[in-house]
């Protein structure tokens, strides 16, 4: 498991670097896709299956399609080269370092949940046993088909009728 985790983490880092370094915007976008898929694999190894699925569907799927669509629409040429000492490069670098420090500290010291005011260590309520139970898609499905059965079915009907309406409005007019 840790091998897969390590590999995925390495791919994520390389892909993230690729986003910044790539010469063409489209390559940056593709590197971002690789990064998001690698992150999804990380979630999977951490027993967060639903998060992994959402990561693929929403980010790697919908959001990236939008990105690529906009890139294709604006069709930027070769990128202007950034000087390594330019202000925005420096600011961006500083922000990245600060973010890394914060995340590292949180990871090493455990996460405190502000809402309840109690301190939660790494073996607190998010211990592997509990993550195992509640992070699973099973829990979510169970809720969807019991407590939230009616809203779930209503949403599906809503999506269906939205599609029907969109097809009607955009359909080419028939020769009459």
């Amino acid at each position: 498991m840790s091998v897969i985790f390590g590999l995925a983490a390495a791919v994520a880092v390389v892909a993230a670097l690729g986003v910044v370094v790539a010469q063409r915007t489209l390559y940056s976008a593709l590197a971002l896709v690789a990064n998001m898929v690698a992150l999804a694999v990380l979630f999977l190894t951490l027993d967060a299956q639903f998060l992994a699925a959402v990561q693929i569907i929403v980010y790697a799927g919908a959001v990236m399609v939008l990105f690529v669509f906009i890139i294709a629409l604006l069709s930027p040429g070769a990128q202007e080269r950034l000087h390594p000492l330019e202000a925005r490069v420096l600011i961006g670098g500083l922000a990245a370092v600060a973010f890394t420090v914060v995340v590292a500290r949180l990871t090493l010291n455990g996460v405190s949940v502000a809402a309840s005011g109690r301190f939660y260590g790494r073996l607190g309520p998010f211990a592997p046993v509990l993550v195992d139970r509640h992070g699973q898609v099973q829990t979510l499905g169970e809720q969807l088909f019991t407590t939230f059965l009616l809203p779930f079915e209503l949403s599906s009907l809503l999506l269906l009728v939205a599609a029907v309406g969109a097809v009607y409005l955009s359909r080419r007019r028939r020769a009459s």
Partner: protein, 521 residues
């Protein structure tokens, strides 16, 4: 870390199975299934025979109406199912019956009208059925999530239906305006719900009701909760088109095909008021001192604005739109008064409104089924001689809207105003009576217009193309058969009969309504 592979997962049984009673949602299930059925039928039915779809849709709606009547007996002590998110109580069922009746009338009147305007597409029936599912859900929803989804399911098909005449600029404008302002209203509604959830931690109305019951006597109602209630009220006021949240109404009503306008103006209002009453009179009832004054102000503003601006209209749809704003104001009196008199009076008025407004629009639909929209006042001039029967029926509906005795509108207003006086909210009743007197002018104006000569051109530019249009319109009305179908005849007569029964024997319906109250769980 263990337990990654699925095989290693321990099986957790369903530890909690909420009460899911599918029978309580029978009307919704019938209409929803009917919608899917029509989706398939649309592919099989040849374009020239789309009337079959109308008959099928009406059959589905009638089946749902039968289900509602069947549920009525057992609904006296109904409790919420689907984990407390939906209830088939008599309050909801009564609203369901009004919504379904309106939908049946609209569907059966649609084919000749839509065919006449070249709009007869199968999607019309599918969208309409989906909207009905949303309305029925809204009338019985006892959970904020379900209520929100009901509002959306009601609205999204209506956005498309408002723009159903895709090639006409006014219809496009109506669809777009309704979409933008409807989305705006939904945002208010959702934000309000989020605040209520944020404060109470609950989405079930029963639980919210309980929180309020404890908080109000102790004086611990948080501003967050009151802000949430206020925003929910604004969101719903948009949907019932109460002033000052009514700006979309005239343009959308005017631009939409008249059958859609009928459905929109009656069924939407009934469903939204059902949710309004359930939320405000019951759930937020204990916090009434906090919202009753703003709500009364909205009611008064709607009555004044709707009735005064309606005076200046020259289009039937716009006049009925402003009249609808005024009617929303009257019904809001019932919400502001609260349980139990206010709720009963509001339900009675909704029944009266369904009969008279559906009837008035049905006559317009029949007149419009001859190829051209019969909308402007001048189109109605002399109708009394050309078609005395239709003109007479339209007169009954208009007089009822004005609140003349022996019609439904009279007792509708009587119950509302007396409930207001009974509750000590005399200004509401006074403003109601004053604005009703104003409304008589514009309703009578149309009625008298129908008695006039067809050739008179008073108020028209003699040189404009209007004269030609009028002429061609008159030529088209020569085909008196079009639109005047058997179902059309039966339905308009039924609406007229309902208007008179509600106006002459009010106890028939009021006796049924009197004991009803909206339950939350």
């Amino acid at each position: 870390m263990t337990g990654w592979s699925v095989g290693a997962l321990p099986w957790y049984p369903l530890h909690f199975v909420p009460a899911v009673d599918l029978l309580s949602a029978l009307p919704e299930l019938i209409v929803g299934a009917g919608m899917v059925l029509m989706l398939i039928a649309d592919l099989l039915v040849p374009p020239s025979r789309r009337g079959i779809l109308a008959v099928g849709t009406a059959a589905v709606l009638s089946a749902a109406l039968v289900a509602v009547i069947w549920q009525w007996g057992g609904a006296a002590h109904a409790y919420a199912t689907f984990d407390g998110s939906f209830v088939a109580d008599r309050f909801g069922l009564f609203s369901d019956a009004l919504i379904l009746s309106t939908a049946i009338v609209v569907v059966l009147l649609s084919p000749p009208y839509l065919a006449g305007r070249g709009l007869h597409a199968g999607e019309y029936y599918i969208l309409l059925l989906a909207s009905v599912v949303g309305m029925l859900t809204l009338a019985g929803g006892t959970n904020l999530i379900v209520i929100f989804l009901g509002v959306e399911l009601l609205s999204i098909p209506l956005y498309v239906l408002a723009g159903f005449a895709r090639d006409e600029r006014r219809s496009q404008e109506a669809g777009m305006k309704y979409l933008l302002l409807g989305g705006f209203a939904s945002a208010f509604l959702l934000y309000g719900m989020a605040l209520v959830y944020g404060d109470t931690g609950k989405t079930n109305l029963t639980a919210i009701h309980r929180v309020l019951l404890e908080a109000v006597p102790a004086g611990h109602v948080s501003p967050l909760l009151m802000a949430g209630i206020g925003l929910i009220g604004i969101g719903l006021a948009f949907k019932v088109s109460a002033a000052p949240f009514h700006w979309w109404t005239p343009d959308v009503y005017e631009g939409s095909p008249v059958v859609v306008t009928t459905f929109m103006s009656v069924a939407t209002k009934v469903a939204a008021f059902a949710a309004f009453l359930r939320l405000f009179s019951t759930t937020f009832g204990s916090a009434q001192s906090g919202w009753t004054v703003p709500l009364a102000l909205v009611a008064i503003a709607s009555m004044i604005f709707g009735n005064v601006v309606a005076l200046a209209q020259r289009s039937m749809k716009r006049m009925l739109a402003y009249s609808g704003i005024a009617q929303a104001g009257y019904i809001l009196i019932g919400v502001a008064v609260g349980q139990p008199d206010g709720t009963a009076a509001a339900l009675y008025y909704l029944a009266a409104y369904t009969a008279m407004n559906t009837g008035a629009f049905a006559v317009l639909t029949i007149l419009s089924s001859r190829g051209r929209e019969c909308d402007e006042y001048r189109h109605l001039r002399g109708l009394g001689r050309r078609e005395p029967f239709l003109a007479g029926l339209l007169a009954i509906f208009l007089l009822s809207l004005a609140g003349f005795p022996l019609t439904a509108g009279f007792f509708g207003k009587f119950f509302l105003f007396s409930a207001a006086i009974h509750d000590g909210q005399v200004p509401l009743a006074v403003w109601g009576v004053v604005t009703s007197a104003v409304s008589v002018f514009y309703y009578l104006r149309v009625t008298l217009l129908m008695l006039g000569q067809a050739g008179e051109t008073e108020g028209m530019d003699p040189g404009s193309t209007g004269g030609d249009q009028l002429e061609s319109w008159a030529v088209q009305t020569g085909d008196r058969r079009a639109g005047w179908t058997l179902p059309g005849r039966v339905l308009v007569l039924t609406a007229a009969a309902a208007t008179l029964v509600l106006g002459i024997f009010p106890t028939v319906v009021y006796g049924v309504i009197q004991g009803i109250h909206a339950v939350t769980g």
